[in-house]
Symmetry: C2
Subunit: 168 residues, 2 copies
């Protein structure tokens, strides 16, 4: 991930989405609302940010983001498949151009050999499809949540830059 | 509002909800995910926190929280009625025992004589019904968001203390 200060990254997302009229939404598990909080820190964010779902439980992933229960059963809540499903579900349910989703094992418990602490998937759904990335962070709970949020914002920005946007 | 450090307040909510098996969810407008983020800062929060909706746009309030569009039209998104609707909607949609909702004018723009900057409604829906409170904060955007989050957590704690909980 880049070294750009978080405030710069947020400012670039904010400006770009307003300029191109790109609407944005979020679906978060391990970050627990942090990505949405960061996107709305700045005044005027209601001009592009429509909303988000914090899907901590699997029931909320299924009920509000349409993540198929059998995907959770087969792949686990922290998986590329579920990150993808969350992003697609958020894009549809929130009616946005670009939706970013995060699911990971923030720690300190919940890790396993197959799904170690810090394992995080970020997905962005936009008009071109879905892009899913895998990360393995090595911090404590707070650091992993912050790293996951930054990774989500960086992938969101990259996709917003590629979005055609709408005529104003 | 009280002077208790935020970390203490969060620790009390966390411990109480785990002890009594009370499930919690959130519905946030002006705080943009901050309440959910704070509730999930601590490890083990998945034991009681199920999820949340950040309903920044009115479409998301209607679509994911079942806030009647005519209530928004009649009372405005920042109103006791909509705070109540958001809390009830979150309790049902997230399938939780206690849901807390926040809607307010964080600023710096968006204020009016009828709905001044800092005006915030917090509502908690639980097994006893819905409790709605009105606040008028006088800080800047960041301070108003933090004050709104604290007010939401304090009302949430008060209602969790009154909840019977479930047999473990």
């Amino acid at each position: 991930m880049g070294d750009e200060p978080l405030a710069n990254l947020l400012e670039r997302i904010h400006r770009l989405c307003l300029e191109r009229a790109i609407s944005v939404g979020t679906a978060e598990s391990c970050t627990g609302g942090l990505v949405a909080k960061l996107l709305t820190d700045r005044a005027g964010s209601s001009g592009f940010f429509r909303g988000g779902v914090v899907s901590y439980s699997n029931d909320v992933k299924a009920g509000l983001l349409d993540v198929p229960a059998d995907h959770i059963d087969a792949h686990g809540a922290v998986s590329a498949q579920v990150a993808r499903d969350m992003a697609i579900g958020a894009r549809v349910r929130l009616s946005v151009d670009v939706a970013v989703a995060v699911t990971g094992v923030a720690g300190p418990s919940g890790g396993s050999r197959a799904k170690p602490l810090g394992l995080t998937y970020v997905a962005v759904a936009d008009s071109a499809g879905v892009d899913v990335r895998r990360f393995l962070f090595d911090g404590d709970r707070q650091a992993n949540r912050e790293s996951a949020a930054r990774a989500a914002l960086e992938l969101l920005l990259a996709h917003c830059e590629a979005e055609p946007g709408r005529p104003l």
